[in-house]
Symmetry: C2
Subunit: 153 residues, 2 copies
DNA sequence: TGACAATATGCCCAAAATGGCATATGTTTG
DNA sequence: CAAACATATGCCATTTTGGGCATATTGTCA
């Protein structure tokens, strides 16, 4: 049976494969619509974002965002930083692969949904004080109210 | 036919998603080690490759390659062309997104395994005649024999 | 037409990913 | 310390994915 012999070869070939998990993991991190939307915000904004800001911008459950952030983080694209109760994530620019990837994605991600997400984020960022997030989850309605109050000050 | 129903559902489901699908599907196509290895061969070689050449280069079962090719094809990265019994796939350079992606990947995919795969492919390509594949699956041993015969000619 | 070759696909199973919910963890503040 | 808040995670059910195998499909040629 030539076919059996063939399969045997396969198994051997598999064993000594040289890990290329890194790159595969990176693409797995990109292979989900929500995660692409999350990354899009980091790429467009370019700086740290905290979990509640992402949650509000994308209007998804907090645990949902948190889990996806974990996947992206494990791929090496994002790294977290705690500041008190808040956790900020940011692109890991110390990794040249990630830098190249981000540069590429900046031009590659052009969907309208992603623009809309970024606009949503920009609204939410109006509530920052001295460049930092100072409030947790805000409903869409409350956000508008709070922004009005803030701009009157 | 259940198949028709399935296809219908797909089309509907696709419809009410906000575009994005393209990009997510593209990254899903990249999110698997075997598929990255397949794409690597197209990127490095730059021209059409037939299924049996890929199969021999990567030393994986034919159905395995065939299934992965189907995923990559559905993402729009590769397109097939039949030539008699052989089916050649090639990068879809008519799509500018794909062109950009390929350009990026050319620098991004640097793993040793991928170099080894390409070397394996180059060996296999020695059996081509007038730039075309003229033989099906060849075991590693047979490949070496055939190359010897060929170079003596 | 029949045999054969190259490729694709249907079915099954196991593993992994995903979403939803509840709750745990870690931090600040009173 | 307790309470409140931001974030993370464990568990469950469901879906998706990938590998393996057999076989179907498509095309060639005698």
């Amino acid at each position: 049976m030539p076919k059996m012999a063939y399969v045997c070869m396969r198994l051997i070939a598999y064993k000594d494969k040289i890990k290329m998990n890194n790159k595969t993991e990176i693409f797995k991190a990109l292979a989900d619509e929500t995660r692409l939307r999350i990354l899009n915000l980091f790429i467009k904004f370019g700086e740290s974002l905290c979990v509640c800001e992402l949650t509000d911008a994308l209007k998804l459950p907090q645990y949902h965002i948190s889990k996806h952030l974990n996947v992206i983080r494990n791929s090496g694209i994002l790294k977290p930083e705690r500041e008190g109760t808040w956790v900020y994530y940011k692109l890991d620019n110390s990794n040249s692969d990630i830098k190249d990837l981000v540069k590429f994605l900046k031009n590659f991600l052009t969907e309208q949904q992603l623009e809309a997400d970024y606009n949503s984020l920009k609204q939410r960022l109006l509530l920052r004080e001295e460049g930092k997030c100072v409030i947790g989850f805000v409903s869409e309605v409350d956000l508008i109210k709070k922004i009005k109050i803030k701009t009157k000050e």
